[in-house]
Symmetry: D2
Subunit: 335 residues, 4 copies
């Protein structure tokens, strides 16, 4: 039997998720598209051939003809929709962040723990990206030796002038906070945050550079540069004492013209991570069908942890000191 999925939120991300569920994976049916705007829900539902639309997410979560929930609504609704899904006993794939409040994240974790069964898959899709997977395989295959540092760059074309370093930490960096930890299989001990003071605030406001120290003794650097201008460019290199491995982004063609040999950058994350999203959603459908959470996917705990790190980074940004990160004790459900 096909898994009947309800997509909540029909914005850019929700429309992408609906399309993937309907067209790019097997064994799933796009049952409902739900959005505060019925027109927007209808437009996505029509494009993807969804069976129904709704404007009431809580009603959708409870419907008998819905097996699983995919939350792509505004950030501040994520935690409560996860709680409703846990309450209804229905697997939920929730876009990041789980919440920007560690306490709210914790309430989702607690609800899941008290129910005693994994229900939430968090949308840190990078874990499914073939290039991060190749990095994992290289590390586990011994091809880099013992890891010493992981370098990360997160560059996007342009953000509004009022975008701040705080936003770079809470919106962009959690992807790195999660994927570094996932690849190294460790937690964090401390974070130090730097910011250039040159040029004007509209540029440097959105730029932060962070150094993480892990509990296993490695380092990680993260540059978040939201006004990189030249393209959407995610980089990662894991460096050990026997070698290193770097992410390689999808490139379809190489061009020669005007005294240049060049490749094109995508304008945003969707093209860069399209296969990651597809594989993530496919793993979610498998999770729904089998009841076994994906070994790769992020959990509610991982969502909580990313938010804890972001809070420490915010303090590091404002106080300009090295901030120690208190790792909360992990419930057995997630071990």
């Amino acid at each position: 039997m096909s898994v009947r999925v309800a997509v909540i939120g029909a914005g850019i991300m929700g429309a992408d998720h609906a399309r993937i569920v309907a067209q790019d994976i097997g064994g799933a049916v796009l049952q409902v598209v739900c959005d505060a705007s019925r027109d927007r829900a209808k437009s996505v539902a029509d494009e993807c051939g969804a069976l129904d639309v709704s404007t009431d997410p809580r009603d959708v979560i409870r419907r008998d003809d819905v097996d699983a929930i995919l939350v792509a609504s505004p950030d501040e609704t994520h935690a409560s929709l996860c709680l409703a899904s846990i309450d209804a006993g229905k697997p939920v794939l929730c876009e990041k962040p789980l919440s920007q409040s560690p306490e709210e994240c914790r309430s989702v974790v607690d609800a899941e723990v008290s129910r005693g069964i994994r229900t939430v898959q968090l949308g840190f899709m990078r874990r499914f990206d073939p290039s991060y997977q190749a990095m994992c395989a290289a590390l586990n295959g011994g091809r880099v030796g013992r890891p010493l540092i992981m370098h990360n760059c997160h560059r996007s074309v342009r953000v509004p002038a009022n975008f701040t370093g705080q936003m770079s930490i809470t919106n962009a960096a959690p992807h790195e906070f999660d994927v570094i930890r996932s690849i190294l299989g460790t937690d964090y001990k401390a974070i130090t945050v730097f910011q250039p003071s040159s040029s004007d605030a509209s540029t440097t406001g959105a730029f932060v550079f962070m150094v993480l120290e892990t509990t296993s003794g490695q380092l990680a650097s993260i540059e978040v540069h939201n006004n990189a201008s030249y393209g959407y460019d995610i980089r990662g290199e894991l460096v050990g004492d026997e070698g290193s491995v770097s992410l390689s982004a999808p490139v379809d063609a190489r061009y020669n013209s005007g005294l240049s040999s060049f490749e094109r950058y995508p304008e945003d994350w969707r093209l860069r991570f399209s296969e990651a999203y597809r594989l993530q959603n496919k793993a979610f459908v498998d999770f729904v069908r089998t009841g076994r959470p994906s070994a790769i996917a992020a959990s509610a705990w991982d969502g909580y942890y990313a938010t804890v790190v972001a809070q420490a980074a915010l303090r590091g940004l404002s106080e300009r000191v090295r901030v120690e990160i208190e790792t909360p004790s992990k419930p057995t459900l997630y071990q």
Copy 2:
């Protein structure tokens, strides 16, 4: 309603097709897996969750619960199974070659023409490969100017010692014969075939180098090197008077070790063209649903044409002369 697909042939290619239909595209159901060996059919059906198995392809083609046929059985059965599908009025996606006999190809074309409706999609999956698509887009977008030559390399790791230049022409090169023609939007005027005479026959037997002249006046070079040893490597560069564009194969990671910086080649075509196969099969399901053949996909005519070119190349190989290619007149069904 989902499209119910029967996969005929449960070898390597058939198993891949079954998996794609069942897991990697939406809107399709893997209804039957059919193979001369019931065990093989059953094994693939179980792995992919197919509803039924069969050992009788003609029966499968006629079944009421089957909407569309995917032919991945041995080459010599392709044409007759296409004819049976045309006869049953059911869309068929047929692996290449349509047939190695131009006459048999022609009989499929004639059957389709006399029925007056497009039924056959030929499995020249490279047309769907994102890198060839990017090459098309570059050409159509004016980024190479007027095309002058297209260079092609088709290298695979190793073939048995009895693999011949003839086989390189009939098995491997038709992919190039088709995709060059598709990208340039032209037919061929002549072909000249070269073969090295150095080293031993087991190596050079499988190596051919061909130069095609198109009816629009461009050139195309094709190296087929089936004992390339180092990896499966498909290259293409389209060169014009304003620039050039080259295919770029998927690369997930870049490694540093042992005084080298390196990327990995796949061992065969399946990893290189996995997305091409997925998009091809997705387009086929759309074709079944809408009745409109994909604008990208190859037709029975294209399958016929590739075989006509292969025949000319065989003559060029044995007689070592430039061979003129007589392009048959194209029925209106394919225009």
Copy 3:
């Protein structure tokens, strides 16, 4: 003692050679710059700190204070200045071509042979290019196995509208005729020439594609594309049955901007081959000092051979047939 060099010809190439002799190698002194235009000679001499200028090349060749001659004057003077240098018993580094007439080339060879000592080094500088040297080393080190084909592209930005395919063969291709033969250590058996007929004559006139068959049984392809527009781009790949090796041009930096990641092409050959010219001239100075010709450098014989091949190619271009190449018997002086 320093080698006292006279540079004959103070055009672009002569000025470059003068600069290299004066500034970029040790053990040499730029003694005289000679040009039909005394102003041009003086300008180069002043820039490089030459000791004297002249307008009479034959006088320069005979001067007691000149140990060696570097010929960079117009093509049609090369052979006679080589003959004069041989006559004077002075080593000469002569820019390519030795002559476009095989008979005239032969007269230089004969003069050198009858004197019984190697005097002429021909300016096929690519043999000294580190990338061609790396290709040689890979072949000799067994890293490509037995060679089957060598692919070559010779692309330059733009030539005048009256530049013809003939000129592409006589001006540009001799570099490839020489370097392929040098790397493979073989002579040629036949050549087949192709030309696109598409687009307008001003573009396609300067475009030729050639396939060479060697006496050792390998193939070589050469694309000469003198209106490539996008940059000066010389490529070579040597392909064997165990691997392949490709030339890599010098690249100083990689840039990101405007949704592109790019490297720059040089506008012409001088930047691409600057180190090759330097190493070639350094080897020439060593030759003068030691009397032992460089093992890498091209001889008068190699210059003669390149012209023989060009003549065959010209016939292949006009008659559009495969042309057999008669390899003349090589005097022992060159063995």
Copy 4:
């Protein structure tokens, strides 16, 4: 007239310098090779055709037939030999470091200042490397916009087990301390040093990661990884708000074999920076001839500054705090 150069120190670096002076630049003569070991001096002198050898550097500096000094002797002798050269009024190209003691560096600066004329060129050869020069040109040409961060990696194959983080800072990092400052045209405000604590001390001891803040408000990251194992690999990327530019190391060829496409790393710095050394020494000879110091080259002041930064970094390493850097006031001689 040729510049007569004395090379002091005939170890690896001294031998390289002697060879460059004798063979790879014009206008210079290798007059003396001096080493504490006469045998070693003689061996290098013979190989390069030097006119004389010596074991007494101070005598060499005073000789009438010596115009300029090239110091490549052990580190602890650099400052005093520079002082002797200043005293003798002879231009000196001194290998880095000027001294590991800021006070000793300062004494050289003071001597030069009190003589009122620039005499010392410091061997920070990277400034002459074509890739760093291309980075400068990109910055000055506005191609990266306003610079925000410069990333640097300094990786070498292997160091002895007793090599420490201190040595990584004093031996390796000064190249980065100098070249970052040279490219950005700024001084430093603070440095923070990190070190992984994972794996064993023999590996991590030689690994340091540093973040510099410049007085103009940019950031710079430096990874020094002396047990990188995979190759000698120097990287740099300058990132601005309009684009970025990365160094590209010389690569002669690209190889395919064993399911890999790869390029080779050099084993150490000499091959990577051979052209930088040549251009540096050529600039030094020009300086001797013209009396005008190279605009690119590092001065005694730059050598002093690099040592000041290294001292701050050492404190940062031992105390694990952000260390502010006091920039001494620069004498007018260096402005």
